[in-house]
Assembly symmetry: C2
Homo-oligomer: 313 residues x 2
Amino acid sequence: MSEFGLIRRHFTRAAPGALLGVGDDAALLQVSPGNVLAVSTDMLVSGTHFFPDADPFLLGCKTLAVNLSDMAAMGARPRWATLAISLPAQNDEWLDRFSAGFFALAQQHEVDLVGGDTTRGPLTLSVTILGEVASGQVLRRDAARAGDDIWVSGELGDAALALAHLQGKVNLSAEDYAVCAGRLHQPQPRVALGVALRGVAHAAIDVSDGLLADLGHILDASGMGAVLEIDALPVSALLRRLQQTRLALNGGDDYELCFTAPAERRDEVAWIAASMGLPLTRIGQVVVEQGCQLRDAGGACLTFEERGYDHFG
Amino acid sequence: MSEFGLIRRHFTRAAPGALLGVGDDAALLQVSPGNVLAVSTDMLVSGTHFFPDADPFLLGCKTLAVNLSDMAAMGARPRWATLAISLPAQNDEWLDRFSAGFFALAQQHEVDLVGGDTTRGPLTLSVTILGEVASGQVLRRDAARAGDDIWVSGELGDAALALAHLQGKVNLSAEDYAVCAGRLHQPQPRVALGVALRGVAHAAIDVSDGLLADLGHILDASGMGAVLEIDALPVSALLRRLQQTRLALNGGDDYELCFTAPAERRDEVAWIAASMGLPLTRIGQVVVEQGCQLRDAGGACLTFEERGYDHFG
């Protein structure tokens, strides 16, 4: 099968939200009136971001999910994606499952695959995601204000625990691994939460490199500091039992949203949590003093030097 | 240096055409009123698209150039780009030169780098380019009509000749290689031509995989055939002297535009050529009969079976 046949078989589906989809030199898209375009790119490399024998269906999901998560963190509605894929050799069975996973999640979020590239080389996946948001409602990193509550969605650390097991750094029972593996292989991009937080939250980021590192980006961009209540962190029962709660601070791959919101919006945030069936936990406060202090229930200050994941750190 | 330091040092410049550039979860862009967004992605892999020891400045230029060429082929004005780059190890000298080349061409075309990703892995470069075009003026592949003239810009085949030399398939003198090497390493994306052809041309494509293959995409999409005057092809003196003119048909990497336009627009096309100082050559005609016939000056029909480059062919 040719490159063009490959694209037709695996990556060409109807793109009802596009003026022109796959098959020309470029796709043509109409941004909705009153909206600006949000654009983000994430690249996944075999051996760096996933194991070469990763399940291709789940990998297809995750390749899109990590990009959807960036849209969520801006409060943007994802609309379109392009996919560039480098493959060592054509493998139709693998591509069938990979594309099925990609399109399954795309359909859930009404995202059209509108273009891309397919070439020969080491297995590498690069997605650019395009979304829309009204310009006054964007959740930017630099918008945290002193006194804001700091919130995080879901639970943190389970994805990092599953990864640590696969890397041989911890040794989980099959039952324990089953509990946390889904968080690593099937992250749930918090797109609906990002949209719900428009006009409620000030700043937001998705937790991909670990809470401390990603919250640090909000604080740096906003010129603020934070006090975190370490005992308030939403950590799974599994992580507590295994005494691996530090993974909730410096793990990664959570793809939860960390956001700040004024204290007078607490009721609205609680309502959003209840209406979505998604825990939203208040974990601290934005303060003027730079740096991130960690406090335990007794009010004692802890230090914490480990930072999040950094590809060239 | 951390991944974030790397991005700051090498890939963060002012983005005056963006609402928000590098540094958040996504860039924010405002599409001009009356315009639609044109989006295209191209991936370049070391060993497939370029030699591992390629000059990083020229590689930076080319990485953007091949994407600009896709905008040109739509008649779109390129505005923004994202760059995902996978690197075996951090090499600041290489990155300094690569980014200098990328930004040099970006500045020429007033394109802002607004986002991307940097990760560890085999050297792979993936650019998504975003441009604007009024929706009624798009140069689509499927818009060729019977009776249209077929035109091509510049000269064809020199880039493929230079590549054949580097691959050891032909053996050029240093002087001859110097004549054609620039066409391989410094392709000139025909952005201004694409804009000038709005409202004049019907269909267009950029010649990246070889004229026959790329014209074939126009013909397939339009449900048409073509008669090409083989002696009319714009071939360099070098290619003629070396009797390598077939490279003008099935070479690649030319990044010239092939377009169709009604016969009554010939004067306008000639005026565009003169005003831009860029040869535009009429090489044949769109016909209703499917397939691509090649005719020599005596009117005899030739057959030509070789097609363009295909990564999985």
